[in-house]
């Protein structure tokens, strides 16, 4: 199968204890396309994101990035590979270190990879502008901004390494309509500009239809609870 570069979860199986969460699930995200994913809660959508983001080791099956199989997870994955897949989670509060200002939050992945400070500042400003965070907001800490503003900062952080793939796990479910449209527009623009592959997980059928190029049903591939 030779074609466009893609992120692939191939026959992935994950269980916690006796409970099987993902049962031989295959999902493929091509660069340049937005894939919508739906399924009932508890069907393992979030686990699938963690597997694809190389944060969780599947019990069986494998993940490959542009044809290269990746068997390691978390710290064991080479940084250059890790930063090619970014994830955006449902709750920005849980996904943001409460001690860091929004600027530091966005800059953190760059500092973690030893980027020169001048370049860090330039890139952070560029991204904060992109997601529409005003100068006043950037110096604040998470507890002093709204969910919508914080999720925009998390989006900026996710894009900071210019990932080839972006996974959005119910990323707009907690946001008001305007912020949802804003976040979706930023991701859409980024996806087009970078020819990135985007996975959008949502329970909102209307949103998926509007946002994604094709929709995958996870319910059919995974068994229900118990």
């Amino acid at each position: 199968m030779t074609s466009t570069p893609h992120l692939l979860a191939d026959e992935v199986t994950v269980g916690y204890g006796r409970q099987v969460v993902l049962d031989r699930v295959t999902v493929r995200i091509d660069r340049g396309e937005t894939v919508g994913l739906r399924g009932p809660s508890g069907c393992g959508k979030s686990t699938l994101v963690r597997v694809l983001a190389l944060l969780h080791q599947p019990d069986q099956g494998r993940v490959s990035i542009d044809g290269t199989a990746v068997s390691a997870v978390r710290y064991a994955v080479p940084v250059a590979l890790r930063t090619r897949v970014a994830a955006l989670f449902q709750s920005p509060r849980a996904a943001a270190d409460p001690r860091l200002s929004l600027t530091d939050l966005i800059a953190e992945p760059l500092r973690a990879t030893r980027t020169p400070e001048a370049a860090v500042r330039e890139r952070v400003t560029e991204l904060a502008d992109l997601v529409g965070l005003t100068a006043d907001l950037r110096s604040r800490r998470p507890h002093a901004v709204s969910d919508g503003q914080l999720q925009r900062a998390c989006l900026a952080r996710a894009l900071v390494h210019r990932p080839d793939y972006l996974l959005c796990d119910e990323a707009t479910a907690m946001l008001d309509a305007s912020t949802q449209a804003h976040v979706a527009a930023v991701i859409r623009d980024y996806q087009l500009a970078q020819q990135a592959g985007v996975l959008v997980i949502s329970h909102d059928q209307t949103l998926l239809e509007r946002w994604s190029d094709r929709i995958v049903d996870l319910a059919g591939t995974a068994p229900a609870r118990t």
């Binding site: 309509a177 305007s178 209307t206």
Partner: protein, 334 residues
């Protein structure tokens, strides 16, 4: 997880023409912080009738949650309130929820007259009691049979077997349904639901919304605070759109969704994925630094010099109010 199939009430059955149950009149809430004053609610007027479901929608930080807390007297100590919110009980004296004081609230109002479905169920549940015990305590305190607990659980879509678990053993969605059951247990005349569907997936969201709807159809009133416009559209009789601490438009649900008159309401609806999917341009103002006039003016395509003065809520043809100097008129009638 199974959910009972339910059909949303038809719009025709939603006509709520009964007596006003809650009349909010000129409500204002201000927080004193170390270095600033925050106006979270400004000069707010609303009426809710028995059998009516009012949805309060708006971007996060517009003050809609503060409104819910003000009505229950649950504001922190640094808040000052002005205005009135009079609750007309069917058999008894009207109570002003803003001025009646904590004792009255605790003895007469909370739970019994006004119920709250809180925003974060995890912190609202006593961690050392099972769901069944929590429900039984509430039921007994209000003179109901503790055996009703199972029925309440079924009503909110919770398996009665799950009532024997402790709060930490429940998923976010299950905890949310449990707090809903707890709020329903005393059978309050007015139910305030503050983002009751956070953390639930679609079937459960719909189930919870239909449950609120059924309460209204049985004669209670519900104030639904939500950021989810689709939810409001599904169940609400009327919708109040809040922006920067004020209600900018309060209309019948169908009329608001088909022909919004406030430029902000219109822009917010345009952000829906089944419409233009376009964000409202610009950023919402900080509640610490609200402009003296219309707070939406800096983002508004229709603004003029008049907008430097705050607009008063004025009636709209067909019912409802809008607070705008230049409301959008849908001229073309097909």
């Amino acid at each position: 997880m199974t959910t009972t199939e339910s059909v949303p009430a038809p719009a025709s059955a939603r006509a709520a023409t009964s007596r006003p149950l809650l009349a909010v009149d000129g409500l204002g809430v201000e927080f004193r912080l170390r270095d600033a004053r925050v106006r979270a609610v400004t000069d707010l007027h609303l009426t809710v009738r028995a059998g009516e479901l009012l949805a309060v929608v708006g971007e996060s930080g517009c003050g809609k949650s503060v409104l819910a807390h003000a009505l229950l007297g649950l504001l922190p100590g640094n808040a000052t309130t002005t205005g009135h919110a009079v609750l007309h009980e069917s058999d008894g004296e009207p109570v002003d929820l803003i001025t009646c004081g904590q004792r009255q609230l605790a003895r007469r109002v909370r739970g019994r007259l006004v119920g709250l479905v809180p925003q974060s169920p995890a912190t609202a549940l006593n961690p050392v009691r099972t769901g069944r015990r929590l429900l039984a305590e509430t039921l007994r305190a209000h003179g109901r049979d503790r055996a009703d607990a199972d029925q309440l659980a079924v009503d909110v879509g919770l398996d009665p077997a799950d009532l024997d678990r402790y709060p930490h053993e429940l998923s976010g969605g299950m905890a949310q349904r449990l707090v809903t059951a707890l709020a329903l247990a005393p059978d309050p005349a007015l139910l305030i639901a503050d983002e009751p569907t956070t953390g639930l997936d679609r079937p459960l969201v719909d189930h919870t919304l239909d449950l609120l709807r059924r309460r209204c159809d049985n004669g209670a009133a519900v104030v639904l605070i939500t950021h989810d416009l689709a939810a409001a559209r599904r169940v609400a009789d009327t919708v109040a759109v809040m922006y920067a601490s004020r209600v900018v438009e309060h209309r019948d649900t169908d009329e608001l969704f088909t022909a919004p008159t406030h430029p902000y309401a219109s822009a917010l609806l345009d952000a829906l994925p089944d419409r233009a999917f376009r964000p409202v341009p610009g950023d919402p103002p900080m509640l610490t630094a609200l402009p003296p006039g219309c707070a939406f003016a800096p983002r508004c395509p229709h603004r003029t010099d008049t907008c430097a003065h705050p607009p008063e809520p004025t009636p709209v043809a067909g019912g409802g109010t809008v607070a705008c100097h230049h409301p959008i008129r849908t001229g073309a009638n097909p």
